[in-house]
Every structure is written in structure tokens, then in C-alpha cells.
């Protein structure tokens, strides 16, 4: 799989697109200027990089996503668990809850998730 991880700055920019899509590149430039104080050339440079990573695409001047925000962060979390916990989700959860115990609400939610998964 090609490296499509985004840095913090690129992610903030991507959030604008995911939130506002579909939008024209001109609108994107305006929004980037308003929210990030970026010049037009900067917006286009970063946008081009994200096109190359295959996260967004440009069809006749309209920018849309190829990978949705949820999908992107799912892939990132898979990658994180694969790289740091040998792909073991239980190992990750053990580490995650080592310093702070789960709240009752979180336990309930996890139970519901497992139940729904077992039904499939």
C-alpha cells in the first residue's frame, strides 16, 4: 500500500475538504485563506500532494474525496496497531487501559459492539 499518511498540517487541511465536500477549488482556496491564512499557491501545492496520495480527486474543478475521513482514520489505527502491537487489538486495549480504567459507559458500549459483531 502506498504511503498515504498525512502530517498534522495536511490533516487539518484535509478536514476542511471532508467537511465541505464537494466544493470547487476556488471555494477551497477561500476557505483555506479564512481558516489557515494560506495563500492560493500554498493551497494548490498541498492539494496536489493529497491528490498524489490518492485521498482526494479533482473532477472538472470540483474537489471530492476518494477515501472518507472515517476510512482514513480506520486505516491509520490499523497501521498503528500493526506497527506497535503486532496487530493484536487486545494488546493495544491492555496498553490503552493500563493507566486509566474504562468507564462503565465505555464497557457497555464495548459489550454492545461485541454482541453486534457476534450476530453477523
Amino acid at each position: 500500500m502506498i504511503e498515504l499518511q498525512m502530517g498534522t498540517v495536511e490533516s487539518k487541511f484535509a478536514d476542511i475538504i471532508w467537511r465541505e465536500e464537494p466544493l470547487s477549488s476556488a471555494e477551497l482556496v477561500k476557505k483555506s485563506e479564512a481558516e489557515l491564512t494560506w495563500k492560493k499557491s500554498t493551497t494548490f501545492t498541498v492539494l496536489k500532494r493529497l491528490f498524489e496520495k490518492g485521498i482526494f480527486k479533482n473532477e472538472k474543478g470540483v474537489v471530492t474525496s476518494i477515501i472518507s475521513r472515517d476510512e482514513y482514520y480506520s486505516m491509520q489505527s490499523e497501521k498503528y496497531v500493526a506497527e506497535n502491537f503486532d496487530g493484536s487489538l487486545p494488546a493495544f486495549l491492555t496498553a490503552f487501559t493500563a493507566r486509566k480504567a474504562l468507564t462503565p459507559e465505555e464497557v457497555d458500549e464495548l459489550r454492545r459492539m461485541i454482541a453486534a459483531y457476534e450476530e453477523k
Partner: protein, 311 residues
């Protein structure tokens, strides 16, 4: 052009004597506050910028005009370095081989000085071009940054924190930094701004572009960069309390990078002499009064003896 080059040459030789003295004093007064070193380098800067100087009997400068302007058309070219054994080694040779021939239209010294001036000017232009290109490249990278707060910005494409800009300076942090380190890095960078280092260091580099032909001044610039960082670290410890030593040096280690090249523009957090900075931070103690007094007296003496010209 040749006249300018010759006076710059003489000024740089005079400044070099001062640099030797500063390096010696730095070594002898190792325990003194590093702020002293920055003051001494400022003196060197003044010597390089100011063509005039007061004359005094206690001047320790051997000669203020090592290569006199008259050498160009003189019948017996000679330098006046102020040091007998250099004079007696060099002058017989150049008087013999570079003496003018009545039949020639130009003296050998005229040709040499002209060629040297051209080389000097080209070198200076090359340095300025390099400076502008590196500046543009960094500007390009940090365009893609987002504001953290005030004048602090985060960027994906840089690997070490630094300050950019002279009039409206901004602090740039790599986005991949630990939040814990950010606090200490910002103490350091804000202290740089308070000390106006973001003006001093580029000024030093501009002097270097003019005097690039003198290797002693390159050494001075490298030492200046290191001393600026050490003095800044000490000021942070004085202001924030010595208890932050450990997390501050952790931040230094986390942000350190292998040194690539002498950079003119940014005051980079982790690039300059990290090992000696960490040692300095971990062993820092408020200096005793007597050290400060000795340092003050020594620099006053140095100022008078080496900032004035011989009579």
C-alpha cells in the same frame, strides 16, 4: 573597487587579532557567564563594520594597515604587518619579484590587487546568492503551516524548531513534536527573541559574506553561533529556575539533528553543538561574584587594548 578591497583586507586582519584574543579569553574564562562571549563577539562585529578607530598607546594590535594602499604603485612593494619576523620574511620576496618594471604599463601589484578584488566581489555575490536561495527554500516549506498561538506556528515539513524573520519573527515548530517538549522549546525560542539573536545572527552572516576570504572570521562565526545558543540556554535557566534542567535537556535531545551546514537564517533549536549545550545546562550554576568581576575587568582591558589602533 581595489581601494575598498584593500581597506576591507586590512580591517579583517585587524579584526583577526581581536578574534585570537577573544578565543583565548573564552578559553581562560570558561566558567564565566556565556553572555560575556556574546559581548566579545559584538566587539569583533564593531571592528568589522567601523573603518575608524581611536589610536592609543596601549593598543595591542600589531598594525592597522598591514597592506598599505601605496603598495600598488610603490617601487618596492612591502607590507607592514607590525610583526618584525613576518615583515622580514615576506617583504624581501615581494619587493624582489613584484617590483614594477619601468617598461610595463601596469605594476604587478596593480594586476594582483585587481584580480584579488574581482575574486573577492564574486565570492561575496556567491555568498549572498546562497543566502537568498536558502531563505527562499525555507520560506517555501513554512508556507504550509498552521498557527498554534501568537507568533508560534506548526509545520509538517521541518525537522527542528527555529525562528524565521527579522522584522516580524515567527517561531516554527515541527508538527511531530512531543507536547511536553514544546513548552521548553518555546522558553528557549522566546528568549532568543528577547535577546534579539534573530537580528544578530543574520547580521553576523552578512559580515561573513563580505569578509568570506578570511578563515579566522569563519571560525569566529561558528563560535558565535554556539555561544549564542549557550547564552540563551543559560538565560532560560536563570529565568525559569534551575529545576527545569532535566526536561529541558530531554527536549534538546529529542529535537537534535545531525549538523548539515552552516545556516545563516534560522536560529534552529537542535542543530548547534547539542552535546556541549546539554553538558552546560546540566552543570549550570550561578557564577560567583568574583568570576563576574574578573570577566568584566578582562573584557574592559581587551576592549581598550584591541579596539584601539596603534599610534
Amino acid at each position: 573597487m581595489e581601494k575598498i578591497f584593500l581597506s576591507l583586507l586590512n580591517m579583517s586582519i585587524t579584526a583577526s587579532w581581536l578574534v585570537f584574543a577573544v578565543i583565548l579569553l573564552r578559553f581562560v574564562l570558561k566558567k564565566a557567564p556565556k553572555e560575556l562571549r556574546c559581548f566579545l563577539w559584538t566587539l569583533v562585529g564593531v571592528r568589522l563594520i567601523c573603518p575608524f578607530s581611536i589610536e592609543s598607546v596601549i593598543s595591542l594590535i600589531p598594525s592597522a594597515e598591514t597592506v598599505p594602499e601605496s603598495i600598488i604603485l610603490s617601487e618596492a612593494p612591502a607590507i607592514n604587518s607590525g610583526i618584525k619576523f613576518i615583515n622580514s620574511a615576506v617583504n624581501p620576496v615581494i619587493s624582489k619579484f613584484l617590483a614594477p618594471n619601468a617598461a610595463d604599463s601596469a605594476t604587478p601589484m596593480q594586476i594582483i590587487t585587481f584580480v584579488a578584488s574581482v575574486i573577492w566581489l564574486s565570492g561575496m555575490v556567491a555568498m549572498l546568492v546562497y543566502m537568498m536561495i536558502s531563505y527562499k527554500r525555507i520560506c517555501g516549506k513554512v508556507r504550509e503551516s498552521i498557527k498554534l498561538r501568537d507568533n508560534v506556528w506548526q509545520c509538517d515539513r521541518i525537522s527542528t524548531p527555529f525562528i524565521l524573520g527579522v522584522i516580524r519573527p515567527r517561531i516554527y515548530l515541527p508538527s511531530a513534536m512531543n507536547d511536553a517538549d514544546i513548552e521548553y522549546v518555546l522558553f528557549h525560542e522566546h528568549t532568543h527573541l528577547k535577546r534579539c539573536d534573530h537580528i544578530r545572527k543574520p547580521l553576523g552572516f552578512i559580515l561573513l559574506t563580505v569578509y568570506w576570504f578570511n578563515p579566522v572570521l569563519w571560525v569566529a562565526y561558528i563560535l558565535l553561533c554556539r555561544d549564542i545558543e549557550l547564552a540563551c540556554d543559560e538565560k532560560v535557566l536563570r529565568e525559569q529556575g534551575e529545576d527545569i534542567r532535566k526536561p529541558y535537556s530531554d527536549a534538546l535531545i529529542n529535537c537534535s539533528m545531525p549538523r548539515k551546514h552552516i545556516s545563516a537564517c534560522p536560529l534552529a533549536f537542535g542543530e548547534v553543538g547539542v552535546k556541549s549545550r546539554i553538558k552546560n545546562v546540566l552543570s549550570y550554576k550561578k557564577p560567583a561574584l568574583w568570576i563576574i568581576v574578573v570577566a568584566f575587568v578582562a573584557s574592559a582591558a581587551l576592549s581598550v587594548c584591541l579596539m584601539t589602533n596603534p599610534m
